[in-house]
Symmetry: C2
Subunit: 211 residues, 2 copies
């Protein structure tokens, strides 16, 4: 009986997947397949033999991450307090995106050819919609809050995340509180996490890449 693959080939494939996961999470989807290969300690050829191309690799690897987000939304619908459910979703969704830069990029960005990711992502809208609806039914949301506000807020906070990532990855929390407080009905303004020192913000802005 012949094993389906030589053992070193299996090792290489695993190493490639691990490296890709790590690099995509840490540095985003812009890392080259060449870089992934080097990081995994194999040649570029090996990378291209294992995966149809970068797009396919990304698609394969990130379905799971997007699924985690969908699961999160579903889980938050089970939380007793409808406000905490919604709030928890937004908060933890951002935390996932801080931890995985690739996820953040793929979640809300031109989806060219990521077929599998697209399929999973399609479930996110309805799940979040349910969260918002439930909060409305419980009267804990300003009546004029709309489902469409959630992705927009994600994008807003995402911008803060990108800005402050290397100064303080959690700085976005301050603005998360700010925005969430604005959505809540009969809001007592919450305590805000402390601001970044001005010079840190200035530094981050200066380092910022132009588009």
């Amino acid at each position: 009986m012949t094993s389906p693959q030589r053992r070193d080939a299996q090792r290489n494939r695993a190493a490639l997947l691990a490296s890709a996961r790590a690099l995509f999470a840490e540095r985003g989807l812009d890392v080259t397949l060449d870089e992934v290969a080097r990081h995994a300690g194999v040649g570029v050829g090996t990378a291209y033999r294992n995966f149809a191309g970068k797009t396919a690799l990304v698609d394969d690897l990130l379905v799971e991450r997007v699924q985690a987000l969908v699961d999160l939304a579903l889980a938050c619908a089970e939380v007793d307090d409808p406000w905490e459910g919604l709030r928890g979703y937004v908060e933890q969704a951002m935390a996932l995106q801080v931890a995985d830069r690739g996820l953040k990029q793929l979640l809300y960005a031109h989806a060219d050819a990521h077929v599998r990711v697209d399929a999973v992502r399609a479930q996110l809208g309805p799940a979040v919609g349910a969260l918002v609806q439930r909060a409305h039914d419980a009267g804990v949301l300003r009546p004029d809050v709309d489902v469409s506000d959630v992705p927009v807020i994600n994008v807003m906070l995402g911008a803060v995340v990108d800005l402050t990532r290397d100064v303080d990855p959690h700085a976005y929390r301050r603005y998360l509180e700010l925005v969430l407080a604005g959505l809540r009905a009969g809001a007592e303004p919450p305590e805000l996490p402390p601001p970044l020192p001005l010079e840190d913000v200035q530094g981050a802005l200066r380092r910022r890449h132009a588009r």
Copy 2:
């Protein structure tokens, strides 16, 4: 007496400047000098004879725009109501950035070699600082609001602007209200401009460029 330049040369230079201003405002700083030249109806060579390079051209053209922002901040310090002064600054600063995409990109982005812009931009921080201080002195701001919050909010709202530009350039106003309300002391939640239809947001997200 010889005029310093041939008349057609003057016309060409003017056309280039006008085209550059228009294209930078409309489509951002990514337009190529070749495009500017074509738009102006002249050859590329003419463009490069008139300006040291793209960086120099951008630097020349946008000082004035950044100066407008500084002027705005100074003017807002003259408004009687300190809250309206601060609020007006943020609101109109965003409006300027909606109207000029290049300004938005340059204002808070890696400043490589834009010497003149840098010089003017340096005045912005203090001017905004005064605005915030005045609002604090009047007690209309939450005490834990910091100067550093202003640029961060600019970046957040800028993300919304980029997202919704071609669906509804003013959609950011809803989120501006949301955020500003969060900064205000003893806030009565303000009325929010209406949300975008969900499908518009979804469309905008789908069209969004990956980074």
